[in-house]
């Protein structure tokens, strides 16, 4: 029906203009005919009696015919639209009775439908060509697809007339329809994966299309044969992994990386950030009828309301989907600084909150054009982006500034001595680090941003990247009646990630009970995979608690790469055991190691360390306090609750075991021996 309206809107100006012309001409001729005797001088210029009048008459007739023709055409089109609409409504109501055999029949009926459109459009008039593909297809199941090409063909037919000249309005639609219908049909068929219709029921409904959701979908499909899984996401993209957006993608040599989104893994092989190519997923229309089930993704749709008693959700376009089991994996939204929000639109336009693919694309663009970028935030994301941009700065002369309230990079994660050491490394990557910086206000002056710090310092820059944390998305808590945790944020769930009987939560948005480490909320990639997988298992009847500890990792330049597990909070007492630097221990050895290390222990998806292109080995450091490689234990009440493997790799299982045991160890040096830190 919307299409009818747009068609009518397109036709209306045409009709109006042609009708005014008609009227004008009629008036003129009327004027001439009626008033020639009295108004000859006035009328001479534009119209006149005799020969000019004859031309005028022909012109009038042609224009009049065109008007009539276009009006007839519009009328038939509307009629055809109404007919199609009726047929569509009928088709929807009887769709549930269709079997999959009819689906196969449609595939065969589609090519003849396409041919029918082509051959019939030429001899017959356009309006008849539109309903004709309908004839072979109505009995078939996903007649949505023939209907879509017919509909898509119709707007293309109508767009042909307005550009065409008025007198030849009728001919082009027919000619244009034939060649246009064919490619349009193919295009429409290709684009139907971007689903047109929302299914009314899905046994497994996953809200959110990120890492946790995809891991859950995979887990459900593995355990429940033939499962039908529907992922609903408000992003336009299929599920993808986030770590490369702040790491590997920035180190790619490919200039078209913002389009391809492919990166090189530690083993040299390239892959896309998307978990699976589009062919892995099925159309959401086919979800109910697919013989072996599948995973369908509904992009660009947001769930706004959840009815827990009725087991259904409502989308932003007012459609409802009912479910048997539901997963909430809505992740979060980047936090912004209040001073920036208050600073006005000019400042907001020059600020990036980094999380999604589009943020990566825009920041990449900015980094090529701006002279100076400031990153506010000294945590994982801020430091990784600073190092990535810092590396770019060596080629382009871009000024990269990083500012944060802590004393050093990763100040909330690493013990102070290590944080200071890391900050020096970040500075070596070309970043101007401003520590202990609290932003007082931000203003925009002469198209440049001015950041005023509380201690009086002033920083002038072109663009700001705010990496100050993530706000978990708990929009559905109110309508669903779900508990939100006040300490950590996020939905409160039990050890089995369950919020209510049929509702689970996983990923960044889940505040869950960890049997070993207590209640927590984790915002790391591997946790999203582990919790997503666990939620999927529990949705298919497993009843397992969160047990397999997830890990995380970060790389800050060629000298600093670490993997960590458990609670890694710098406010806890720590014990760090480092290999004493000998002539053999060089940062280069550490970077070669980081080329072979396995990062993601959950192994669901391959994730990579930063491929180190060329590193000039620094001279062996004889300095006592060089933290080249080692193990750091984080203690709570004398029990190890967190471990960082500093430039040592492939030892995560041992770390996991130590945390799982939860024992009090008298001498942590003995525990450190288990890691063999002196070896590769």
């Amino acid at each position: 029906m919307l299409k009818c309206r747009t068609v009518w809107k397109k036709l209306a100006p045409l009709a109006r203009s042609s009708s005014t012309l008609c009227r004008q001409n009629v008036k003129r001729t009327g004027l001439n005919n009626g008033r020639i005797p009295t108004c000859v001088p006035a009328a001479n210029m534009s119209t006149g009696p005799g020969g000019l009048g004859g031309d005028n008459l022909k012109y009038t007739i042609m224009v009049g015919a065109a008007c009539v023709g276009s009006l007839t055409y519009a009328y038939f089109l509307l009629k055809g639209d109404q007919k199609r609409y009726q047929e569509r409504i009928e088709e929807i109501t009887t769709r549930s009775q269709r079997s999959s055999k009819e689906e196969a029949a449609t595939v065969q009926s589609e090519p003849p439908a396409v041919e029918a459109t082509q051959t019939e459009a030429v001899p017959e008039s356009v309006p008849e060509a539109a309903p004709s593909p309908e004839e072979p297809s109505p009995p078939a199941a996903p007649a949505e697809e023939p209907a879509a090409p017919a509909e898509a063909a119709a707007p293309s037919e109508t767009t042909a007339p307005p550009p065409a000249d008025e007198p030849v309005v009728e001919a082009p639609p027919e000619e244009a329809a034939t060649p246009v219908a064919a490619p349009v049909v193919e295009e429409a068929a290709d684009s139907t994966p971007a689903s047109l219709k929302v299914p009314s029921h899905s046994p497994y409904l996953l809200i959110g299309g990120g890492t946790a959701s995809f891991a859950a979908a995979r887990s459900i499909r593995a355990r429940d044969p033939g499962a039908r899984v529907l992922i609903v996401t408000d992003e336009p993209d299929l599920p993808y992994m986030r770590p490369p957006l702040s790491k590997e993608l920035w180190f790619s040599d490919d200039p078209s990386v913002t389009e391809t989104l492919r990166f090189k893994q530690w083993n040299g092989k390239e892959r896309s950030i998307y978990f699976q190519p589009p062919s892995f997923y099925i159309n959401s229309e086919e979800l109910a009828s697919a013989e072996n089930g599948g995973v369908a993704v509904l992009t660009g749709k947001k769930v706004v309301h959840m009815d827990v008693r009725g087991n259904k959700v409502k989308l932003d376009d007012d459609t409802e989907i009912s479910y048997d089991k539901c997963l909430i994996a809505t992740g979060g939204v980047p936090r912004n600084l209040q001073v920036i929000e208050r600073a006005g639109e000019e400042v907001m336009k020059k600020t990036t909150l980094f999380r999604k693919i589009e943020d990566f694309k825009s920041l990449d663009n900015v980094s090529r054009n701006a002279k100076s970028i400031t990153i506010i935030g000294g945590g994982f994301l801020g430091s990784e982006l600073a190092c990535a941009l810092g590396r770019r700065s060596t080629e382009s002369g871009l000024e990269v500034i990083q500012m944060f309230p802590e004393k050093g990079n990763m100040g909330k994660v690493l013990p102070e001595y290590l944080s200071n050491w890391t900050t020096e490394k970040v500075k070596r990557e070309g970043v101007k680090v401003i520590a202990e910086a609290l932003v007082k206000s931000v203003t925009c002056k002469d198209d440049k941003l001015e950041i005023h710090l509380k201690d009086g310092r002033l920083v002038k820059t072109d663009h700001i990247v705010a990496a100050v944390g993530l706000e978990p998305n708990v929009d559905l808590a109110k309508s669903a009646g779900l508990e939100v945790d006040s300490d950590f944020g996020g939905y409160r769930v039990n050890a089995e990630l369950q919020a209510r009987s049929n509702i689970w939560v996983a990923g960044d948005a889940a505040c869950f009970y960890d049997i070993r480490l207590g209640r927590r909320r984790v915002e790391h990639h591997d946790h999203a995979v582990v919790s997503g997988r666990l939620a999927g298992e529990n949705m298919t009847g497993a009843s397992k608690p969160y047990w397999h500890q997830s890990m995380f990792w970060s790389d800050l330049g060629p000298d600093v790469g670490y993997e960590a597990i458990g609670i890694v909070d710098s406010s806890l007492p720590t014990v760090g055991v480092f290999a004493k630097a000998t002539a053999k221990d060089t940062p280069k050895a550490a970077t070669e190691k980081s080329g072979t290390g396995i990062r993601s222990e959950s192994e669901t998806e391959d994730t990579a360390t930063s491929p180190v292109a060329s590193v000039t080995p620094l001279p062996p450091v004889a300095h006592k306090d060089d933290y080249g490689k080692g193990v750091i234990f984080y203690l709570r009440d004398k029990v190890v609750v967190g471990i960082i493997l500093w430039n040592v790799f492939n030892r995560m299982p041992i770390a996991r075991k130590i945390i799982k045991d939860g024992e009090e160890h008298a001498d942590l040096n003995e525990v450190a021996k288990l890691f063999n830190i002196h070896e590769d």
């Binding site: 083993n267 397999h548 290999a579 192994e603 021996k673």
Partner: protein, 159 residues
């Protein structure tokens, strides 16, 4: 010799290789192989296949998941002298399905023939390496992608 320092609440120890030469006297609790909470490897304690094993990548969950499961189950439970020799049809179905999705399962001649050869003559312990042959590059996992990575995964499977 090792060197120790205290900075506030943080303790820093530097150790040489010799310091760490002696075996550790730290005690670790023995693992229960039948612990239901633990992540299982490819084969569960009761002998069944763990379809949710990360080592399988997306094989059991993708569009050809059911064909893969049938083929691999048939092979796993096969008691023939040449293991899996009666499963040719299942593997053929799987291959036909995979050919319909070249993006997900890139068709490489040597991979196909090697997977067929391995499946008919391999044993259960070769199963992870079977998967490494079957699993496509596009659906890469650290486990399957290269020989370098199989050892840590195996150690995790074993644990």
């Amino acid at each position: 010799m090792s060197y120790c320092r205290q900075e506030g609440k943080d303790r820093i120890i530097f150790v040489t290789k010799e310091d760490h030469d002696t075996p550790s006297n730290a005690e670790l609790i023995a693992d229960d192989p039948n612990d239901p909470y633990e992540e299982q490897g490819l084969i569960l304690p009761n002998g069944d296949i763990n379809w949710n094993c990360p080592c399988l990548g997306g094989m059991a969950s993708g569009p050809c998941g059911s064909q893969f499961k049938e083929a691999f189950s048939c092979f796993h439970y096969s008691k023939e002298e040449v293991k899996g020799s009666e499963c040719i049809d299942n593997f053929r179905n799987m291959q036909e399905c995979m050919q319909r999705y070249p993006e997900l399962y890139p068709q490489e001649e040597d991979k196909e023939s090697s997977s067929q050869g391995e499946s008919s003559s391999g044993s259960d312990s070769a199963a992870p390496s079977d998967n490494s042959a079957l699993i496509s590059e596009s659906d890469s996992t650290p486990a399957a992608a290269s020989s370098d990575s199989t050892s840590p995964t195996d150690s995790q499977i074993a644990s």
